[in-house]
């Protein structure tokens, strides 16, 4: 175990000369911290600042999605091509208009054509992809050559994370049991119930692994937020707020803003809570 001093672990980048923080960026940093804490305030209770942040989020996410979709799809794949005079691109335009007629009462049946088109396109594309990668390949990869496995790893090899004949057989039989657990069109006999039970056990081990990994993923994301609130998301630089003013460490500045905003949010929640209890009485 190596304990590194805080500065060397977190502040690895070479400090640059102080950069000027524009008013826009400064306000941005505050807004970003405020919105972060506003969402976190939901953990206390559903409250007005959370709702405010939530609705800003609803609005901004749809707007950014729409903007990116415009520049990512409509413009290059439709508008530009029409502007070049590509006649074939009139067909998707017509289909698009038909889809948008969905919003009218009178012609909404027209939308069935583009919907049929897109659903069938997805269905056709997924059909071969799933059958190939998720069925054929997985079955093909579940037929181990046991003597070869034995030559390579023996019955059980710690060095190879437990690979070996035991694990190979476990994999094949476990997979068979799981598949038979999902066999619905027969009454369950006693022997089938046993197989099904084995299948469930294997599935539960699999879900357990999933659970462990998911916990890790979620905590990782919270760490990301903590790094930003504590000013550890950017290289350590000195910034000036007013031109010609004294340089201040960006990390300290962010921490000051975070702390101040946290107090603000807590005070707000306390006042809001008090008022609510009063009005209930």
């Amino acid at each position: 175990m190596i304990t590194l001093p805080l500065t060397s672990v977190l502040l690895t980048a070479t400090p640059l000369t102080a950069t000027h923080l524009t008013a826009g960026s400064l306000i941005g940093i505050w807004v970003s911290i405020f919105l972060t804490l506003a969402i976190f305030s939901f953990l206390y209770e559903d409250n007005p600042i959370y709702k405010l942040a939530e609705h800003i989020f609803l609005g901004i996410s749809i707007a950014i999605g729409a903007t990116e979709i415009y520049y990512g799809v409509f413009k290059p794949n439709l508008i530009d091509k029409l502007a070049e005079g590509r006649l074939l691109s009139i067909i998707p335009l017509i289909l698009l208009v038909m889809l948008l007629l969905k919003m009218t009462k009178k012609f909404d049946y027209m939308a069935k054509v583009p919907i049929a088109f897109i659903v069938a396109a997805f269905a056709g594309v997924k059909l071969t992809g799933e059958a190939n990668a998720n069925l054929m390949t997985q079955v093909a990869q579940s037929m181990p050559n046991l003597p070869e496995v034995y030559r390579e790893h023996g019955i059980w090899s710690w060095d190879a994370d437990g690979a070996g004949v035991f694990s190979s057989i476990f994999l094949v039989l476990g997979l068979c049991a799981c598949l038979l657990h999902f066999y619905f069109s027969a009454k369950q006999t006693k022997s089938m119930a046993v197989v099904s039970k084995i299948g469930i056990i294997v599935l539960m081990l699999s879900f357990g692994a999933s659970f462990g990994y998911t916990v890790m993923g979620r905590i990782s994301l919270a760490i990301g937020r903590a790094q930003e609130l504590l000013g550890l998301d950017k290289p350590p630089i000195d910034v000036t707020i007013t031109s010609g003013g004294d340089p201040i460490n960006r990390m300290s500045l962010v921490r000051m803003i975070s702390f101040g905003t946290l107090i603000l949010v807590i005070v707000f929640l306390a006042v809001w809570q008090k008022r609510r209890t009063q009005s209930e009485e």
Partner: protein, 282 residues
């Protein structure tokens, strides 16, 4: 005792939240570093990319958004660094609408560090909606899927795209995937059809889902979650800490310790309380 356990069980969950917050903030402020062994799946990813030759062209699909950034940004950066420093040409595309504004600064940042020339050493084709359909199109005809790049240059005219028309014309594909659509859809739609070499960097959540693909040879490498990114960082930047680079995943991995312990303790204590009180009730 029973009363105490009962109260412990019905404790306001906001105390649990507060504990979680402390379990994250404290080690972030005062980190303790433990060395780790590099995962075999990450090693094979690294080795394959390390074998690329100067002039090879790789397609990177950046399919993540701000929400999954902590896990994937470190990999994305280290991966670009790795390939730029080997003079590999990098073509980047995305299937997530929120990716372009997020990844553009990262790409530019790394390109500037390595003196990459846009259009020759790297290019960002932008975002394409349509999930499986878009992936199928990348397999069929990438120039048709992305007629222009993110800077509105005609994609076919970019020097980096000469000789490239389909996914199989790339040396390999790196899918940096935060979920749907992502690695899984690449594997399903085009990996088998064209026998492509695909590597995946993914969130912890998707990792158990992608392990069968790795074991079946459908992926040649898999960097799962924060440890995956941290291991890759450690392979790319051999020494820790590195001057001028923030190894964000490696830092975060040290914070994860306490977070995991906290959850384990919660599960164990929650269950003990549950069983003790249940016995009394019965």
């Amino acid at each position: 005792m029973y009363q105490l356990l009962k109260r412990f069980q019905s404790m306001d969950r906001r105390w649990v939240f507060l504990g979680m917050a402390l379990a994250i903030v404290i080690p972030t402020l005062y980190p303790v570093h433990f060395p780790t062994k590099v995962d075999e799946r990450v090693q094979s990813l690294y080795d394959r990319i390390d074998q690329l030759e100067a002039g090879d062209t790789v397609f990177v699909s950046a399919d993540f958004d701000p929400a999954s950034r902590p896990e994937l940004e470190p990999f994305f950066r280290a991966n670009l660094h790795h390939m730029f420093s080997r003079d590999v040409n990098i073509v980047i595309g995305s299937l997530w609408p929120f990716a372009p504004p997020l990844v553009t600064p990262m790409i530019e940042d790394l390109a500037t560090q390595h003196g990459g020339v846009y259009g020759e050493d790297y290019a960002f084709l932008g975002f394409k909606l349509g999930n499986e359909l878009a992936i199928k199109m990348i397999g069929d005809d990438i120039l048709k899927a992305f007629p222009v790049d993110s800077r509105e240059n005609v994609t076919a005219d970019l020097p980096i795209m000469s000789g490239i028309r389909q996914a199989q014309d790339f040396e390999l594909i790196v899918s940096v995937s935060a979920g749907f659509p992502g690695t899984r859809e690449y594997v399903l739609q085009i990996q088998g059809q064209y026998d492509l070499e695909i590597a995946s960097s993914t969130t912890a959540v998707s990792t158990p889902d992608y392990v069968p693909f790795y074991k079946a040879g459908q992926l040649f490498g898999l960097a799962g979650g924060m440890p995956g990114s941290a291991h890759y960082e450690q392979l790319v930047y051999r020494d820790y800490p590195v001057e001028g680079v923030r190894m964000m995943a490696t830092q975060a991995l040290d914070v994860l310790n306490l977070g995991h312990l906290y959850i384990i303790i919660l599960i164990v204590f929650g269950n003990i309380a549950f069983f003790l009180t249940r016995e009394v009730e019965e």
